[in-house]
Amino acid sequence: MISLFEVTETNQMIEQEQLDVRTITMGIGLLDCVDADLDALNKNISEKITRTARDLVAVGDAIELEYGIPIVNTRISVTPIALVGAGACTCPEDFATIATTLDEAARATGVDFLGGYSALVSKGMTPADEHLIASIPEALASTERVCSSVNIGSTKTGINMDAVRRMGEIVKATAEATADAGSVGCAKLVVFCNAPDDNPFMAGAFHGVTEPDAVVHVGVSGPGVITCALQEVRGANFEVLCETVKKTAFKVTRAGQLVAQEASRRLGVPFGIVDLSLAPTPAVGDSVAGILEEMGLESVGAPGTTAALALLTDQVKKGGVMASSFVGGLSGAFIPVSEDRGMADAVMRGALSIEKLEAMTCVCSVGLDMIAVPGTTSAATIAGIIADEAAIGMINQKTTAVRLIPAIGRDVGDTVEFGGLLGRAPVQRVSTVGCEAFINRGGRIPAPIHSFRN
């Protein structure tokens, strides 16, 4: 029988340490919506999403109320739209109409974000991929809840450098198209290498073609819970430190597993995966940087940061894998700058550079995330940063991503306010040493030798 001590511990995690379920994300396949007529396609998409996700928000609310654990977001991911719209869209403007349809469907179902305005171009781009990518700035400027992602490389295919160069231009154009709102369009655009098919977290979520017609994924959270657990073992050796993280991650993930199974049962949709990622928020005490500093770093960014993040990510996985029947998505630790108050503070005090963040992405679950850079940063420099991140992902057989925000009209020393979970980002210095000739070569970087495993 459960004890008073255990009940108190769980409720303390929820009430004082920001334990929550960050997102219940329903993946919805749209391939059966395909039609050569654009109007019919849009109608089919709208009907499928609003029918399948009709009860999603209500079920999330009911689970939150009955189990007493906050469910912060309910979201939808869909099949990459470059595939869905390929037969009907002959220009970027055609694709933008689908973005509008998705935005309306997101409002109708009550979800805060809908991901999947995406293209998978790790080896090459179809005309539909090129049109969708060209439409991204307009699509993100004219919608509120639609999120976009483009996968430009993988360990198995290498890196599509034509797509990398193009995405440098698209990130810049998206920043300019949403300049009035702090270039917030870029917060809804992720460039991936090795993008997973079952990621529940925005802005990079899409419903991969390997998935069933509909599926429920859950993303847990819990940086605050880990930080509080580590406060109890200050000064202890690494064995104790690692065991503490592992045990705490187990408990956090068990809550996610329960919510995932319950949501799946109530919605009549298969359970997909639990994503173990520690997802910070701008709230005080809900910070991955806070965990690293509790481990003994004066500030995140200090020497030792990469090692601390590596052990954190690994122990979270070890604890989480035991706690869930299916683990997937990104699963590790997120290090977004604007969404993590501790990261943003470290940048402000000059302790955390973009180069150190790049090193950290070698051992965390994603990449350079929610980093504001000067609005004058060139498209080629952005493409160079994307290429570097993609190379880390390709060689290390892991997901990497870039979500940079060239803040138009702002420079180093300024900050950009996005509000809500997106937080605020100090504009960071970026190297201005040129890479145009490298980026402009065109073509592909071949897959690495260790990808040939057959």
Partner: protein, 90 residues
């Protein structure tokens, strides 16, 4: 049907258990176990209850107990037992 855990946390006062139990009895909720501690004047109680005989919708019971807690000056939470057993039992 899974059990429900009701927790009551707050400053100790006369009649806290009586008031909570009166509500539960009035709504055909069966109390199966009670444990409590008082540390430095703070009351911490946990009840394991069975709501399967109650006609009161779960959401209504959560809201009623929350209101009752406000009236007594304590925090009353009502949660399905699974959230605790999943987290603390393999």
């Amino acid at each position: 049907m899974s059990k429900t855990i009701i927790t009551v946390v707050g400053k100790d006062a006369v009649g806290i258990i009586a008031k909570v139990c009166t509500y539960l009895a009035g709504n055909q909720v069966n109390v199966e176990d009670i444990s409590q501690t008082i540390v430095q004047g703070y009351f911490n109680m946990m009840m394991i209850v069975d709501t399967s005989g109650s006609a009161t919708p779960y959401a209504e019971m959560v809201a009623d107990l929350d209101d009752l807690g406000d009236a007594i000056g304590v925090k009353i939470r009502c949660q399905r037992e699974d959230i605790f057993t999943k987290m603390h039992r393999i």
